[in-house]
Symmetry: C3
Subunit: 339 residues, 3 copies
Amino acid sequence: MSPVDTQAQPSQPVKLRPGNIQLDPQGKLRHFLAIEGLPKAVLTKILDAAESFTTAHEHREKKIELLKGHTIANLFFEPSTRTRTTFELAAKRLSADVLNINISASSSSKGETLLDMLRNLEAMHVDMFVVRHGSSGAAHFIAKNVPPHVSVLNAGDGSHEHPTQAMLDMFTIRQHKPDFPSLRVAIVGDIMHSRVARSQIHALNTLGVGELRVIAPQTLLPAGIEKMGVQVYQNIDEGIKDVDVIIMLRLQRERMHSAFIPSEHEYFSLYGMTETRLALAKPDVIIMHPGPINRGVEMDSAVADGSHSVILQQVSNGIAVRMAAMALAMRNPDGSSAS
Amino acid sequence: MSPVDTQAQPSQPVKLRPGNIQLDPQGKLRHFLAIEGLPKAVLTKILDAAESFTTAHEHREKKIELLKGHTIANLFFEPSTRTRTTFELAAKRLSADVLNINISASSSSKGETLLDMLRNLEAMHVDMFVVRHGSSGAAHFIAKNVPPHVSVLNAGDGSHEHPTQAMLDMFTIRQHKPDFPSLRVAIVGDIMHSRVARSQIHALNTLGVGELRVIAPQTLLPAGIEKMGVQVYQNIDEGIKDVDVIIMLRLQRERMHSAFIPSEHEYFSLYGMTETRLALAKPDVIIMHPGPINRGVEMDSAVADGSHSVILQQVSNGIAVRMAAMALAMRNPDGSSAS
Amino acid sequence: MSPVDTQAQPSQPVKLRPGNIQLDPQGKLRHFLAIEGLPKAVLTKILDAAESFTTAHEHREKKIELLKGHTIANLFFEPSTRTRTTFELAAKRLSADVLNINISASSSSKGETLLDMLRNLEAMHVDMFVVRHGSSGAAHFIAKNVPPHVSVLNAGDGSHEHPTQAMLDMFTIRQHKPDFPSLRVAIVGDIMHSRVARSQIHALNTLGVGELRVIAPQTLLPAGIEKMGVQVYQNIDEGIKDVDVIIMLRLQRERMHSAFIPSEHEYFSLYGMTETRLALAKPDVIIMHPGPINRGVEMDSAVADGSHSVILQQVSNGIAVRMAAMALAMRNPDGSSAS
């Protein structure tokens, strides 16, 4: 009769592989919490699924009934209209019902614990949680505490990971330059505080990128970054020489007050992307940014809106990649993969 | 030409039975405002309909197109994310369109009266209002002022009634112990201020429960409660002796400040549910709570999460029971029952 | 590779007629920004489409799958629950997905420009923007900056126009009095600040109304109003003599503080509609108001709820007219008309 007992003893016993809560016993995606630890085959499967959704959209099959009758709850502990909107659109295009839970308004006001809130949403037959949280590991904690038929997608946790953002970047790169081993990629900006950068580095290494560079001032580089399989450049003009792909990170303006960088003007002159600077990269370089752009800080408008920019393609691909992650992670009532 | 005239003279004349606005001339559910006054046959019909939706869900028929094209408006004058969410999910699973109206934000800002707001929503072809309000009788007032094709569900009005909550409790009891006449049931806690308790007492009596007890300190018992067909206990150890079902009420923390109870600690020691205390009831007793639980005040966690608890089943059943109430109360344009 | 280039060179080149961004080369509705400049044939087409949706609703075809898979974003820079709700219901009845964007919460917090926000929403495959803004010309500005497959509906811009409101008024008039050339119509109230009045005057003149009067105190009449093809009355008893249709405008209470009118009481005695006053018009006059009514300021309740009032029919018609505008303006990916 106890819900805890029920959850611990599902009709179909599911054993997670030790050390990787993200995969089911068949090696299929169960939760999508981090790029770190996922094999190349799983990443490729996400990219392939996203491609099929992109093709479907071009053929005017805008509505896909794959998740009809499933309920997805957006649990955003950190507000982000932009990211929530992309997950909401992805869920709706798969015909799922979407529940947006305003955490501050709902749970805390009546003194409910996080686990009680999860138990209640599960009891309402919510099938998937999309979690954004200011603390690293929050989505992982939730994933450890859901029953076998519920899956969890990480929409950004602290400075840890933001795996769907990284995968939409991989998808965008693959559209233009499908052979990862032959690519030289540079990530520019606040590596230290960026969950996006951490996810990108893991994804690019897992997909076998030829060479991966990070470009940042010393104050924005985490200690021991070299161990992540990257080459470090503090000089951007050296760092972007002959690269195929440049990924600009967003500069959080609040860093300024913490004295990580001297001023926006100074940052732009040292690390901002201009057309002159861009000419140092390969002639067919593509330039990416997770948005929203601080024009005149990370890059000038000529670059953001120029012929090398794929920034808006990233946004479009964000819908397809989130549809892919949702479709692959969704579970049947017995905990088996629904797709 | 006048909308008032139009509404007063529908093409199919509908006469409400004197004294019971909740039923149509055929005795079918028209509004769901209160348990009091509804015959046993109607309550049983709601339970049976809820059962069919539960079965449908187990068979993966998650989406039912019964209310496709109908519009349901949640009018929440009192904020409650939790209750609104269950009504919203119930409506979506029946394929209805849902409109969440934030009352403070919409009506009052432009000085619109409540009746004008209702008239406008009806003119937009809203078919059903789900109403939650801090004043007793609010849903009843609205029901008296809607045209024949619109129905009203009460989602809690002041300290009057909360009929869908009571019915999900009845449904949960019936799942475990279907023979009401043989049951001994105890309701524990703040009877005086609880609209849930009022609805439960009416429902249990209508369904013919064998014996009904209420357990509370004198300060939390309404005057004349004995006339509602209950036996009163102030000592919980005596009150739960040999009962089949225990329903704990939620303690509103604001009561503390009003000196109804001395302290949370004192309340827990006198009325809180522990495993030791639970052993006084029947061996197969089930324990219920409307949520969210104040752990360590109304009950300790060992009971809340223990083998006798059916608390999360109540939450699941809340969706099915609300689907049932919506499906049964929905009207055709001529005011006849749509189901 | 640049999104700007891509958007500027669609596969099917689309050239807008000089001077009228609202029509496509075939003369079909592309954006709906203002009544001014639209030919009678387009207005009539909107009315005819609205009529077909009204008929469909009466035949219980509540859900129409015309825009299934399309996404409509409500961009409300000025809050209006009422207007947003009618657009949202219209979109849902056409089976479109709806995105409500809270502008203050989303765009400005991260310093994103309006154009960047639009580009991002377009990249997420939003097909239509419904725009409400406090500045005149805002919807027009946005329409000039969207790619060929995206269309824009004006839901009110400053004191410029509110075209869907005017068209629902035309639709309501046509239901009761279909022969515009034979009609005498009076608009009463704050002409100067009313975008609704501006749109109504253009619509009535384009549809060939017999005689159009505006009735207001000197302080609420814009300079040069006579050039818009109206007759001006400051005395309401003279102005409504023998009219077929009276359109009351809503009085913004904030005007009081700006000394445009002396007091609500004074305004009601000079311009408020009473049954006595109404007797001066034709015996079968209809009286209209965009809502919400200030009872006792613009009209008394006997008129608002009386047999000449068609105010709630206006609200119902608002859904059908917005469905019509959405269906007609929606584009295919190549920029051609989707309907």
